[in-house]
Symmetry: C2
Subunit: 309 residues, 2 copies
Protein backbone atom coordinates (compact mmCIF):
# COMPACT_ATOMS: atom_id res chain seq x y z
CA UNK A 1 0.00 0.00 0.00
CA UNK A 2 1.71 3.09 -1.28
CA UNK A 3 0.20 6.57 -1.10
CA UNK A 4 1.06 9.29 -3.63
CA UNK A 5 -0.30 12.78 -3.15
CA UNK A 6 -1.33 14.22 -6.52
CA UNK A 7 -2.93 17.44 -5.30
CA UNK A 8 -2.71 19.17 -1.92
CA UNK A 9 -4.27 22.60 -2.47
CA UNK A 10 -7.73 23.70 -1.45
CA UNK A 11 -10.08 25.27 -4.02
CA UNK A 12 -7.65 26.45 -6.67
CA UNK A 13 -4.38 25.12 -8.05
CA UNK A 14 -1.21 27.04 -7.24
CA UNK A 15 2.14 26.87 -9.00
CA UNK A 16 3.28 24.06 -6.68
CA UNK A 17 0.10 22.37 -5.48
CA UNK A 18 -2.73 21.00 -7.58
CA UNK A 19 -6.30 20.54 -6.34
CA UNK A 20 -7.26 17.38 -4.46
CA UNK A 21 -6.32 13.84 -5.41
CA UNK A 22 -4.58 10.98 -3.65
CA UNK A 23 -3.48 7.74 -5.31
CA UNK A 24 -3.27 4.45 -3.43
CA UNK A 25 -1.12 1.93 -5.25
CA UNK A 26 -1.71 -1.76 -4.53
CA UNK A 27 1.31 -3.38 -6.18
CA UNK A 28 0.19 -6.97 -5.45
CA UNK A 29 -2.77 -6.51 -7.81
CA UNK A 30 -1.24 -3.88 -10.09
CA UNK A 31 -4.09 -1.52 -9.27
CA UNK A 32 -4.36 2.14 -8.40
CA UNK A 33 -7.27 3.50 -6.42
CA UNK A 34 -7.83 7.23 -6.53
CA UNK A 35 -9.40 9.37 -3.85
CA UNK A 36 -10.87 12.54 -5.39
CA UNK A 37 -9.97 13.75 -8.84
CA UNK A 38 -9.51 17.50 -9.10
CA UNK A 39 -8.78 19.13 -12.46
CA UNK A 40 -5.46 18.06 -14.00
CA UNK A 41 -5.17 14.89 -11.93
CA UNK A 42 -4.36 13.09 -15.18
CA UNK A 43 -1.62 15.65 -15.80
CA UNK A 44 -0.19 14.93 -12.35
CA UNK A 45 -0.30 11.19 -13.06
CA UNK A 46 1.69 11.85 -16.27
CA UNK A 47 4.35 13.53 -14.14
CA UNK A 48 4.40 10.73 -11.54
CA UNK A 49 5.61 7.14 -11.85
CA UNK A 50 2.03 5.86 -11.63
CA UNK A 51 0.32 4.36 -14.65
CA UNK A 52 -3.08 5.82 -15.48
CA UNK A 53 -4.01 2.49 -17.09
CA UNK A 54 -3.83 0.80 -13.66
CA UNK A 55 -6.64 2.92 -12.21
CA UNK A 56 -9.38 0.54 -11.12
CA UNK A 57 -11.45 2.41 -8.52
CA UNK A 58 -12.09 6.09 -7.82
CA UNK A 59 -13.62 7.29 -4.56
CA UNK A 60 -15.11 10.79 -4.51
CA UNK A 61 -15.58 12.57 -1.20
CA UNK A 62 -17.99 15.31 -2.31
CA UNK A 63 -19.22 17.16 -5.35
CA UNK A 64 -17.23 20.41 -5.11
CA UNK A 65 -15.40 21.18 -8.32
CA UNK A 66 -11.89 21.05 -6.89
CA UNK A 67 -12.53 17.36 -6.10
CA UNK A 68 -14.25 16.25 -9.34
CA UNK A 69 -13.35 18.45 -12.32
CA UNK A 70 -10.54 16.10 -13.37
CA UNK A 71 -12.82 13.07 -13.58
CA UNK A 72 -14.12 13.41 -17.12
CA UNK A 73 -10.72 14.05 -18.68
CA UNK A 74 -9.19 11.15 -16.78
CA UNK A 75 -12.01 8.79 -17.74
CA UNK A 76 -11.64 9.88 -21.39
CA UNK A 77 -7.90 9.29 -21.35
CA UNK A 78 -8.37 5.86 -19.75
CA UNK A 79 -10.56 5.08 -22.75
CA UNK A 80 -7.97 6.24 -25.26
CA UNK A 81 -5.29 4.19 -23.48
CA UNK A 82 -7.22 1.15 -24.68
CA UNK A 83 -6.15 -1.21 -21.88
CA UNK A 84 -8.82 -0.42 -19.28
CA UNK A 85 -11.72 -2.86 -18.99
CA UNK A 86 -13.61 -1.48 -15.99
CA UNK A 87 -13.55 1.43 -13.58
CA UNK A 88 -15.71 1.57 -10.46
CA UNK A 89 -16.55 5.02 -9.26
CA UNK A 90 -17.88 5.64 -5.72
CA UNK A 91 -19.36 8.83 -4.40
CA UNK A 92 -22.26 10.89 -3.13
CA UNK A 93 -25.75 10.86 -4.65
CA UNK A 94 -25.73 13.06 -7.81
CA UNK A 95 -22.28 11.87 -8.84
CA UNK A 96 -24.04 9.57 -11.31
CA UNK A 97 -26.09 12.51 -12.60
CA UNK A 98 -22.97 14.62 -13.06
CA UNK A 99 -21.20 11.85 -14.98
CA UNK A 100 -24.23 11.13 -17.15
CA UNK A 101 -24.64 14.82 -18.04
CA UNK A 102 -20.99 15.28 -18.91
CA UNK A 103 -20.92 12.12 -21.04
CA UNK A 104 -24.03 13.25 -22.84
CA UNK A 105 -23.08 16.87 -23.59
CA UNK A 106 -19.49 16.08 -24.50
CA UNK A 107 -20.70 13.28 -26.80
CA UNK A 108 -18.38 10.81 -25.10
CA UNK A 109 -18.65 7.05 -25.25
CA UNK A 110 -16.31 5.09 -23.01
CA UNK A 111 -14.91 1.86 -24.47
CA UNK A 112 -14.90 0.20 -21.03
CA UNK A 113 -17.44 -0.41 -18.30
CA UNK A 114 -17.91 2.49 -15.91
CA UNK A 115 -19.88 1.55 -12.81
CA UNK A 116 -21.03 4.42 -10.62
CA UNK A 117 -21.87 3.48 -7.02
CA UNK A 118 -23.72 5.82 -4.69
CA UNK A 119 -22.21 5.39 -1.24
CA UNK A 120 -23.90 5.42 2.13
CA UNK A 121 -22.23 5.36 5.53
CA UNK A 122 -20.90 1.83 6.12
CA UNK A 123 -19.22 -0.67 3.85
CA UNK A 124 -18.60 0.54 0.33
CA UNK A 125 -16.46 -2.25 -1.06
CA UNK A 126 -15.02 -5.54 0.13
CA UNK A 127 -13.27 -8.41 -1.63
CA UNK A 128 -11.66 -10.38 1.20
CA UNK A 129 -8.31 -8.64 0.90
CA UNK A 130 -9.50 -5.04 1.17
CA UNK A 131 -12.52 -3.40 2.73
CA UNK A 132 -13.51 0.20 2.11
CA UNK A 133 -15.90 1.90 4.51
CA UNK A 134 -17.12 5.46 4.65
CA UNK A 135 -18.67 7.92 7.08
CA UNK A 136 -20.48 11.18 6.56
CA UNK A 137 -18.29 14.14 7.55
CA UNK A 138 -19.45 17.70 8.25
CA UNK A 139 -19.16 20.05 5.27
CA UNK A 140 -21.41 22.43 3.30
CA UNK A 141 -22.47 19.59 0.98
CA UNK A 142 -22.57 15.84 1.78
CA UNK A 143 -18.92 14.77 2.13
CA UNK A 144 -17.68 11.27 2.88
CA UNK A 145 -14.50 10.14 4.59
CA UNK A 146 -13.11 6.81 3.38
CA UNK A 147 -11.16 4.08 5.12
CA UNK A 148 -9.29 1.35 3.28
CA UNK A 149 -8.53 -1.61 5.52
CA UNK A 150 -6.37 -4.52 4.52
CA UNK A 151 -7.35 -7.88 6.02
CA UNK A 152 -5.06 -9.49 8.58
CA UNK A 153 -2.85 -12.17 7.04
CA UNK A 154 -2.27 -15.51 8.82
CA UNK A 155 1.33 -15.90 9.96
CA UNK A 156 3.68 -18.17 8.03
CA UNK A 157 3.13 -21.89 8.73
CA UNK A 158 6.39 -23.73 9.50
CA UNK A 159 5.78 -26.92 7.53
CA UNK A 160 9.35 -28.15 8.12
CA UNK A 161 8.77 -28.14 11.88
CA UNK A 162 5.65 -30.34 11.50
CA UNK A 163 7.55 -32.68 9.21
CA UNK A 164 10.47 -32.97 11.65
CA UNK A 165 8.00 -34.03 14.36
CA UNK A 166 6.70 -36.78 12.08
CA UNK A 167 3.19 -35.37 11.78
CA UNK A 168 1.71 -37.19 8.78
CA UNK A 169 0.85 -35.13 5.68
CA UNK A 170 -2.80 -34.43 5.03
CA UNK A 171 -5.74 -32.56 6.58
CA UNK A 172 -3.93 -32.26 9.94
CA UNK A 173 -1.59 -29.70 8.36
CA UNK A 174 -4.58 -27.57 7.40
CA UNK A 175 -5.84 -27.65 11.01
CA UNK A 176 -2.42 -26.67 12.34
CA UNK A 177 -2.27 -23.79 9.82
CA UNK A 178 -5.55 -22.51 11.22
CA UNK A 179 -4.06 -22.58 14.73
CA UNK A 180 -6.16 -25.51 15.93
CA UNK A 181 -5.02 -28.22 18.36
CA UNK A 182 -4.65 -31.72 16.92
CA UNK A 183 -4.21 -35.20 18.43
CA UNK A 184 -2.17 -37.80 16.53
CA UNK A 185 -2.94 -41.56 16.42
CA UNK A 186 0.08 -42.08 18.72
CA UNK A 187 -1.51 -39.79 21.30
CA UNK A 188 0.74 -36.79 20.85
CA UNK A 189 -1.03 -33.42 21.02
CA UNK A 190 0.10 -30.33 19.12
CA UNK A 191 -1.08 -26.74 19.24
CA UNK A 192 -1.23 -25.17 15.77
CA UNK A 193 -0.13 -21.80 17.14
CA UNK A 194 3.28 -23.36 17.88
CA UNK A 195 3.74 -23.90 14.13
CA UNK A 196 2.65 -20.46 12.90
CA UNK A 197 4.16 -16.98 13.06
CA UNK A 198 1.79 -14.47 14.60
CA UNK A 199 -0.75 -13.12 12.08
CA UNK A 200 0.28 -10.00 10.14
CA UNK A 201 -1.96 -7.09 10.96
CA UNK A 202 -3.62 -5.53 7.91
CA UNK A 203 -2.74 -1.95 7.11
CA UNK A 204 -5.21 0.92 6.89
CA UNK A 205 -5.48 4.36 5.39
CA UNK A 206 -8.15 6.96 6.15
CA UNK A 207 -8.94 9.99 3.98
CA UNK A 208 -11.02 12.80 5.51
CA UNK A 209 -11.84 15.88 3.39
CA UNK A 210 -13.62 18.33 3.30
CA UNK A 211 -14.83 18.72 6.87
CA UNK A 212 -14.72 20.71 10.04
CA UNK A 213 -13.71 18.70 13.15
CA UNK A 214 -16.27 15.91 13.58
CA UNK A 215 -16.76 12.78 15.67
CA UNK A 216 -17.40 10.60 12.64
CA UNK A 217 -13.88 11.32 11.38
CA UNK A 218 -12.55 10.18 14.77
CA UNK A 219 -14.61 6.99 14.58
CA UNK A 220 -13.60 6.26 10.98
CA UNK A 221 -9.91 6.77 11.74
CA UNK A 222 -9.69 4.56 14.89
CA UNK A 223 -6.20 3.01 15.13
CA UNK A 224 -5.47 3.66 11.46
CA UNK A 225 -1.89 3.45 10.20
CA UNK A 226 -2.29 6.65 8.23
CA UNK A 227 -4.85 9.43 8.49
CA UNK A 228 -4.92 11.98 5.68
CA UNK A 229 -6.95 14.89 6.99
CA UNK A 230 -7.66 18.27 5.49
CA UNK A 231 -6.12 21.31 7.17
CA UNK A 232 -7.34 24.19 5.05
CA UNK A 233 -6.56 26.82 7.67
CA UNK A 234 -4.10 27.63 10.43
CA UNK A 235 -5.28 27.61 14.03
CA UNK A 236 -5.68 31.40 14.07
CA UNK A 237 -8.27 31.15 11.27
CA UNK A 238 -10.56 28.90 13.31
CA UNK A 239 -13.48 31.31 12.76
CA UNK A 240 -13.13 30.93 9.01
CA UNK A 241 -12.86 27.17 9.38
CA UNK A 242 -16.10 26.99 11.35
CA UNK A 243 -17.84 29.38 8.92
CA UNK A 244 -16.84 27.38 5.83
CA UNK A 245 -16.89 23.97 7.52
CA UNK A 246 -13.23 23.30 6.90
CA UNK A 247 -10.58 22.19 9.39
CA UNK A 248 -7.68 23.96 11.00
CA UNK A 249 -4.34 22.23 11.49
CA UNK A 250 -5.26 21.73 15.14
CA UNK A 251 -8.63 20.15 14.37
CA UNK A 252 -6.88 17.61 12.13
CA UNK A 253 -4.41 16.87 14.92
CA UNK A 254 -7.22 16.40 17.41
CA UNK A 255 -8.89 13.84 15.17
CA UNK A 256 -5.56 12.00 14.89
CA UNK A 257 -5.03 12.08 18.65
CA UNK A 258 -8.55 10.95 19.58
CA UNK A 259 -8.44 8.18 16.96
CA UNK A 260 -4.96 7.09 18.09
CA UNK A 261 -3.68 6.79 14.52
CA UNK A 262 0.00 6.10 13.87
CA UNK A 263 0.66 8.93 11.40
CA UNK A 264 -1.19 12.06 10.29
CA UNK A 265 -0.74 13.80 6.94
CA UNK A 266 -2.08 17.35 6.61
CA UNK A 267 -3.33 18.35 3.16
CA UNK A 268 -5.83 20.62 1.30
CA UNK A 269 -4.07 23.84 2.29
CA UNK A 270 -5.59 27.21 1.49
CA UNK A 271 -3.71 28.91 -1.35
CA UNK A 272 -3.09 31.83 1.04
CA UNK A 273 -0.22 29.89 2.67
CA UNK A 274 1.84 30.14 -0.52
CA UNK A 275 5.46 31.26 -0.17
CA UNK A 276 5.58 34.91 0.81
CA UNK A 277 2.67 34.81 3.24
CA UNK A 278 3.58 35.49 6.88
CA UNK A 279 1.94 32.18 7.82
CA UNK A 280 3.29 29.12 6.00
CA UNK A 281 2.30 25.47 5.86
CA UNK A 282 5.24 24.77 8.15
CA UNK A 283 3.44 26.82 10.79
CA UNK A 284 0.36 24.63 10.34
CA UNK A 285 2.63 21.62 10.84
CA UNK A 286 4.03 23.00 14.09
CA UNK A 287 0.53 23.74 15.38
CA UNK A 288 -0.57 20.18 14.64
CA UNK A 289 2.57 18.59 16.09
CA UNK A 290 1.97 20.35 19.39
CA UNK A 291 -1.14 18.15 19.68
CA UNK A 292 -0.16 15.11 17.63
CA UNK A 293 3.62 14.82 17.23
CA UNK A 294 3.69 12.28 14.39
CA UNK A 295 2.26 14.72 11.85
CA UNK A 296 3.68 15.39 8.38
CA UNK A 297 2.85 17.82 5.58
CA UNK A 298 1.58 16.43 2.31
CA UNK A 299 3.02 17.90 -0.87
CA UNK A 300 2.38 17.06 -4.51
CA UNK A 301 4.13 13.86 -5.63
CA UNK A 302 5.09 12.89 -2.07
CA UNK A 303 5.06 9.09 -1.78
CA UNK A 304 4.56 7.11 1.40
CA UNK A 305 4.64 3.35 1.65
CA UNK A 306 2.61 2.17 4.66
CA UNK A 307 4.89 -0.23 6.55
CA UNK A 308 3.63 -3.65 7.65
CA UNK A 309 3.17 -4.54 11.30
Amino acid sequence: MEITFLGTSSGVPTRTRNVSSVALRLPQRKEIWLFDCGEATQHQLLRSDLRTSQIRRIFITHMHGDHIFGLMGLLASCGLAGTVSQIDLYGPPTLDRYIASCLRWSVMRLPYKLQVHTVEPGEVFSDGEFTVTCRLLHHRVPAFGYRVSESDRPGRFHVEKAQALGIPFGPLYGQLKQGKTITLADGRIFDGRDFCDPPQRGRSMVYCTDTVFCESAVELAQQADVLIHEATFSHQEADLAFARLHSTSTMAAQVAAFAQVKLLFLTHFSARYAPGNPVQVEDLLAEAQAIFPNTRLARDFLRYEIPRG
Copy 2:
Protein backbone atom coordinates in the same frame (compact mmCIF):
# COMPACT_ATOMS: atom_id res chain seq x y z
CA MET B 1 -3.27 41.47 -30.59
CA GLU B 2 -1.01 38.89 -29.06
CA ILE B 3 -1.59 35.15 -29.36
CA THR B 4 -0.41 32.67 -26.69
CA PHE B 5 -0.79 28.96 -27.29
CA LEU B 6 -1.85 27.26 -24.06
CA GLY B 7 -2.42 23.75 -25.42
CA THR B 8 -1.36 22.19 -28.71
CA SER B 9 -2.06 18.47 -28.29
CA SER B 10 -5.00 16.56 -29.73
CA GLY B 11 -7.21 14.41 -27.49
CA VAL B 12 -4.90 13.82 -24.51
CA PRO B 13 -2.27 15.89 -22.76
CA THR B 14 1.36 14.86 -23.13
CA ARG B 15 4.33 15.82 -20.97
CA THR B 16 5.02 18.86 -23.17
CA ARG B 17 1.69 19.72 -24.79
CA ASN B 18 -1.63 20.33 -23.10
CA VAL B 19 -5.01 19.90 -24.77
CA SER B 20 -6.49 22.77 -26.80
CA SER B 21 -6.58 26.39 -25.79
CA VAL B 22 -5.40 29.63 -27.37
CA ALA B 23 -5.37 33.01 -25.64
CA LEU B 24 -5.73 36.28 -27.52
CA ARG B 25 -4.53 39.24 -25.49
CA LEU B 26 -5.92 42.68 -26.32
CA PRO B 27 -3.63 44.96 -24.33
CA GLN B 28 -5.50 48.18 -25.27
CA ARG B 29 -8.53 46.94 -23.30
CA LYS B 30 -6.70 44.74 -20.79
CA GLU B 31 -8.75 41.76 -21.94
CA ILE B 32 -7.99 38.16 -22.77
CA TRP B 33 -10.20 36.19 -25.07
CA LEU B 34 -9.83 32.40 -24.97
CA PHE B 35 -10.45 29.99 -27.81
CA ASP B 36 -11.27 26.54 -26.42
CA CYS B 37 -10.56 25.53 -22.86
CA GLY B 38 -9.20 22.00 -22.48
CA GLU B 39 -8.54 20.54 -19.03
CA ALA B 40 -5.80 22.39 -17.11
CA THR B 41 -6.05 25.56 -19.17
CA GLN B 42 -6.13 27.45 -15.86
CA HIS B 43 -2.94 25.65 -14.87
CA GLN B 44 -1.30 26.75 -18.13
CA LEU B 45 -2.43 30.33 -17.49
CA LEU B 46 -0.77 30.13 -14.04
CA ARG B 47 2.47 29.21 -15.80
CA SER B 48 2.16 31.97 -18.42
CA ASP B 49 2.39 35.74 -18.02
CA LEU B 50 -1.34 36.09 -18.69
CA ARG B 51 -3.74 37.08 -15.94
CA THR B 52 -6.73 34.81 -15.51
CA SER B 53 -8.66 37.76 -14.08
CA GLN B 54 -8.47 39.50 -17.50
CA ILE B 55 -10.47 36.78 -19.26
CA ARG B 56 -13.57 38.43 -20.73
CA ARG B 57 -14.76 36.15 -23.56
CA ILE B 58 -14.36 32.43 -24.25
CA PHE B 59 -15.12 30.95 -27.67
CA ILE B 60 -15.68 27.20 -27.84
CA THR B 61 -15.25 25.40 -31.18
CA HIS B 62 -17.02 22.14 -30.34
CA MET B 63 -18.14 19.98 -27.45
CA HIS B 64 -15.41 17.32 -27.39
CA GLY B 65 -13.85 16.98 -23.96
CA ASP B 66 -10.33 18.01 -24.93
CA HIS B 67 -11.76 21.43 -25.83
CA ILE B 68 -14.11 22.04 -22.87
CA PHE B 69 -13.08 20.07 -19.76
CA GLY B 70 -11.09 23.02 -18.41
CA LEU B 71 -14.05 25.40 -18.54
CA MET B 72 -15.66 24.67 -15.18
CA GLY B 73 -12.42 24.87 -13.20
CA LEU B 74 -11.44 28.10 -14.92
CA LEU B 75 -14.87 29.67 -14.37
CA ALA B 76 -14.70 28.65 -10.69
CA SER B 77 -11.24 30.15 -10.24
CA CYS B 78 -12.35 33.38 -11.96
CA GLY B 79 -15.03 33.55 -9.29
CA LEU B 80 -12.57 33.04 -6.44
CA ALA B 81 -10.28 35.71 -7.90
CA GLY B 82 -13.04 38.17 -7.00
CA THR B 83 -12.23 40.75 -9.68
CA VAL B 84 -14.27 39.37 -12.59
CA SER B 85 -17.63 41.01 -13.26
CA GLN B 86 -18.75 39.27 -16.46
CA ILE B 87 -17.65 36.49 -18.80
CA ASP B 88 -19.30 35.88 -22.16
CA LEU B 89 -19.10 32.34 -23.43
CA TYR B 90 -19.76 31.48 -27.07
CA GLY B 91 -20.21 28.03 -28.55
CA PRO B 92 -22.34 25.34 -30.12
CA PRO B 93 -25.88 24.48 -29.06
CA THR B 94 -25.72 22.26 -25.90
CA LEU B 95 -22.82 24.29 -24.45
CA ASP B 96 -25.41 26.03 -22.26
CA ARG B 97 -26.82 22.65 -21.19
CA TYR B 98 -23.36 21.38 -20.31
CA ILE B 99 -22.58 24.47 -18.24
CA ALA B 100 -25.95 24.38 -16.46
CA SER B 101 -25.53 20.67 -15.58
CA CYS B 102 -22.01 21.14 -14.25
CA LEU B 103 -23.00 24.17 -12.18
CA ARG B 104 -25.95 22.26 -10.78
CA TRP B 105 -24.22 18.99 -9.86
CA SER B 106 -21.09 20.64 -8.50
CA VAL B 107 -23.25 23.01 -6.41
CA MET B 108 -21.41 26.01 -7.84
CA ARG B 109 -22.62 29.59 -7.80
CA LEU B 110 -20.57 32.11 -9.74
CA PRO B 111 -20.21 35.57 -8.16
CA TYR B 112 -20.18 37.22 -11.61
CA LYS B 113 -22.45 37.24 -14.66
CA LEU B 114 -21.85 34.33 -17.03
CA GLN B 115 -23.61 34.81 -20.36
CA VAL B 116 -23.70 31.79 -22.63
CA HIS B 117 -24.29 32.54 -26.34
CA THR B 118 -25.19 29.85 -28.85
CA VAL B 119 -23.40 30.71 -32.08
CA GLU B 120 -24.61 30.33 -35.65
CA PRO B 121 -22.57 30.85 -38.80
CA GLY B 122 -22.09 34.59 -39.29
CA GLU B 123 -21.40 37.41 -36.86
CA VAL B 124 -20.97 36.33 -33.26
CA PHE B 125 -19.77 39.54 -31.63
CA SER B 126 -19.06 43.11 -32.72
CA ASP B 127 -18.31 46.29 -30.79
CA GLY B 128 -16.91 48.64 -33.40
CA GLU B 129 -13.29 47.80 -32.67
CA PHE B 130 -13.50 44.01 -33.03
CA THR B 131 -15.80 41.71 -34.93
CA VAL B 132 -15.93 37.95 -34.38
CA THR B 133 -17.49 35.76 -37.04
CA CYS B 134 -17.76 32.00 -37.28
CA ARG B 135 -18.34 29.28 -39.85
CA LEU B 136 -19.33 25.67 -39.50
CA LEU B 137 -16.37 23.35 -40.16
CA HIS B 138 -16.52 19.65 -40.96
CA HIS B 139 -16.02 17.38 -37.92
CA ARG B 140 -17.87 14.49 -36.23
CA VAL B 141 -19.87 16.93 -34.11
CA PRO B 142 -20.79 20.54 -34.95
CA ALA B 143 -17.51 22.50 -34.86
CA PHE B 144 -17.08 26.21 -35.51
CA GLY B 145 -14.10 28.12 -36.84
CA TYR B 146 -13.74 31.66 -35.49
CA ARG B 147 -12.31 34.83 -37.02
CA VAL B 148 -11.44 37.90 -34.99
CA SER B 149 -11.16 41.01 -37.16
CA GLU B 150 -9.95 44.34 -35.93
CA SER B 151 -11.56 47.36 -37.59
CA ASP B 152 -9.44 49.55 -39.87
CA ARG B 153 -8.22 52.68 -38.12
CA PRO B 154 -8.34 56.07 -39.86
CA GLY B 155 -4.88 57.47 -40.56
CA ARG B 156 -3.50 60.24 -38.38
CA PHE B 157 -4.93 63.71 -39.15
CA HIS B 158 -2.18 66.34 -39.52
CA VAL B 159 -3.84 69.21 -37.70
CA GLU B 160 -0.67 71.36 -37.88
CA LYS B 161 -0.79 71.29 -41.68
CA ALA B 162 -4.39 72.59 -41.69
CA GLN B 163 -3.45 75.30 -39.18
CA ALA B 164 -0.45 76.40 -41.27
CA LEU B 165 -2.75 76.84 -44.26
CA GLY B 166 -4.98 79.11 -42.19
CA ILE B 167 -8.02 76.85 -42.29
CA PRO B 168 -10.26 78.17 -39.49
CA PHE B 169 -10.89 75.89 -36.50
CA GLY B 170 -14.32 74.27 -36.29
CA PRO B 171 -16.45 71.72 -38.11
CA LEU B 172 -14.26 71.93 -41.24
CA TYR B 173 -11.52 70.04 -39.39
CA GLY B 174 -13.95 67.18 -38.77
CA GLN B 175 -14.76 67.02 -42.49
CA LEU B 176 -11.07 66.99 -43.43
CA LYS B 177 -10.46 64.17 -40.90
CA GLN B 178 -13.11 62.11 -42.63
CA GLY B 179 -11.31 62.68 -45.97
CA LYS B 180 -13.95 64.99 -47.40
CA THR B 181 -13.27 67.98 -49.73
CA ILE B 182 -14.02 71.43 -48.29
CA THR B 183 -14.32 74.93 -49.76
CA LEU B 184 -13.25 77.94 -47.65
CA ALA B 185 -14.96 81.35 -47.66
CA ASP B 186 -11.96 82.71 -49.58
CA GLY B 187 -12.62 80.15 -52.35
CA ARG B 188 -9.70 77.83 -51.62
CA ILE B 189 -10.51 74.09 -51.96
CA PHE B 190 -8.83 71.35 -49.88
CA ASP B 191 -9.00 67.53 -50.12
CA GLY B 192 -9.13 65.94 -46.66
CA ARG B 193 -7.05 62.97 -47.85
CA ASP B 194 -4.09 65.35 -48.20
CA PHE B 195 -4.23 65.91 -44.42
CA CYS B 196 -4.51 62.25 -43.33
CA ASP B 197 -2.14 59.31 -43.28
CA PRO B 198 -3.54 56.27 -45.06
CA PRO B 199 -5.89 54.21 -42.86
CA GLN B 200 -4.31 51.44 -40.79
CA ARG B 201 -5.58 48.05 -41.83
CA GLY B 202 -7.14 46.07 -38.97
CA ARG B 203 -5.49 42.79 -38.02
CA SER B 204 -7.17 39.41 -38.06
CA MET B 205 -6.76 35.98 -36.56
CA VAL B 206 -8.59 32.81 -37.60
CA TYR B 207 -8.86 29.63 -35.50
CA CYS B 208 -9.99 26.42 -37.23
CA THR B 209 -10.27 23.20 -35.20
CA ASP B 210 -11.39 20.38 -35.29
CA THR B 211 -12.00 19.76 -38.98
CA VAL B 212 -10.98 17.91 -42.07
CA PHE B 213 -10.14 20.15 -45.07
CA CYS B 214 -13.23 22.24 -45.86
CA GLU B 215 -14.20 25.17 -48.04
CA SER B 216 -15.74 27.09 -45.16
CA ALA B 217 -12.34 27.25 -43.45
CA VAL B 218 -10.93 28.74 -46.65
CA GLU B 219 -13.72 31.30 -46.77
CA LEU B 220 -13.38 32.20 -43.09
CA ALA B 221 -9.61 32.64 -43.38
CA GLN B 222 -9.55 34.88 -46.50
CA GLN B 223 -6.56 37.26 -46.31
CA ALA B 224 -6.16 36.76 -42.57
CA ASP B 225 -2.94 37.82 -40.88
CA VAL B 226 -2.77 34.58 -38.91
CA LEU B 227 -4.50 31.27 -39.47
CA ILE B 228 -4.29 28.73 -36.64
CA HIS B 229 -5.37 25.43 -38.16
CA GLU B 230 -5.41 21.94 -36.69
CA ALA B 231 -2.95 19.42 -38.13
CA THR B 232 -3.67 16.29 -36.14
CA PHE B 233 -1.93 13.97 -38.59
CA SER B 234 0.98 13.85 -41.00
CA HIS B 235 0.29 13.63 -44.73
CA GLN B 236 0.85 9.87 -44.75
CA GLU B 237 -2.05 9.42 -42.30
CA ALA B 238 -4.57 11.07 -44.66
CA ASP B 239 -6.84 8.01 -44.44
CA LEU B 240 -7.06 8.39 -40.68
CA ALA B 241 -7.70 12.11 -41.08
CA PHE B 242 -10.62 11.50 -43.44
CA ALA B 243 -11.99 8.73 -41.22
CA ARG B 244 -11.89 10.86 -38.06
CA LEU B 245 -12.59 14.17 -39.80
CA HIS B 246 -9.31 15.73 -38.73
CA SER B 247 -6.73 17.50 -40.87
CA THR B 248 -3.31 16.54 -42.07
CA SER B 249 -0.45 19.05 -42.17
CA THR B 250 -1.01 19.36 -45.93
CA MET B 251 -4.73 20.05 -45.60
CA ALA B 252 -3.96 22.90 -43.20
CA ALA B 253 -1.42 24.27 -45.67
CA GLN B 254 -3.94 24.08 -48.51
CA VAL B 255 -6.45 26.10 -46.51
CA ALA B 256 -3.74 28.70 -45.84
CA ALA B 257 -2.73 28.81 -49.52
CA PHE B 258 -6.27 29.05 -50.90
CA ALA B 259 -7.19 31.71 -48.34
CA GLN B 260 -3.97 33.66 -49.01
CA VAL B 261 -3.27 34.21 -45.34
CA LYS B 262 -0.01 35.78 -44.23
CA LEU B 263 1.03 33.17 -41.66
CA LEU B 264 -0.11 29.66 -40.74
CA PHE B 265 0.32 28.03 -37.34
CA LEU B 266 -0.11 24.26 -37.12
CA THR B 267 -1.51 22.91 -33.85
CA HIS B 268 -3.60 20.07 -32.28
CA PHE B 269 -0.98 17.41 -32.97
CA SER B 270 -1.68 13.75 -32.33
CA ALA B 271 0.18 12.51 -29.25
CA ARG B 272 1.81 9.88 -31.51
CA TYR B 273 4.27 12.50 -32.77
CA ALA B 274 5.91 12.71 -29.36
CA PRO B 275 9.71 12.53 -29.19
CA GLY B 276 10.87 9.04 -30.13
CA ASN B 277 8.34 8.46 -32.89
CA PRO B 278 9.83 8.07 -36.38
CA VAL B 279 7.57 10.89 -37.57
CA GLN B 280 7.88 14.16 -35.66
CA VAL B 281 5.99 17.45 -35.69
CA GLU B 282 8.95 18.90 -37.60
CA ASP B 283 8.05 16.51 -40.43
CA LEU B 284 4.51 17.87 -40.40
CA LEU B 285 5.99 21.35 -40.65
CA ALA B 286 8.09 20.42 -43.68
CA GLU B 287 5.09 18.85 -45.39
CA ALA B 288 3.05 22.01 -44.85
CA GLN B 289 5.85 24.35 -45.90
CA ALA B 290 6.13 22.54 -49.25
CA ILE B 291 2.63 23.91 -49.95
CA PHE B 292 2.57 27.08 -47.83
CA PRO B 293 6.07 28.29 -46.97
CA ASN B 294 5.14 30.72 -44.19
CA THR B 295 4.06 27.96 -41.81
CA ARG B 296 5.14 27.61 -38.18
CA LEU B 297 4.60 25.01 -35.46
CA ALA B 298 2.61 25.98 -32.41
CA ARG B 299 3.97 24.87 -29.05
CA ASP B 300 2.69 25.45 -25.54
CA PHE B 301 3.43 28.97 -24.25
CA LEU B 302 4.57 30.22 -27.69
CA ARG B 303 3.61 33.89 -28.03
CA TYR B 304 3.06 35.73 -31.27
CA GLU B 305 2.23 39.42 -31.58
CA ILE B 306 0.36 40.09 -34.82
CA PRO B 307 2.19 43.04 -36.45
CA ARG B 308 0.26 46.06 -37.75
CA GLY B 309 0.06 46.86 -41.46
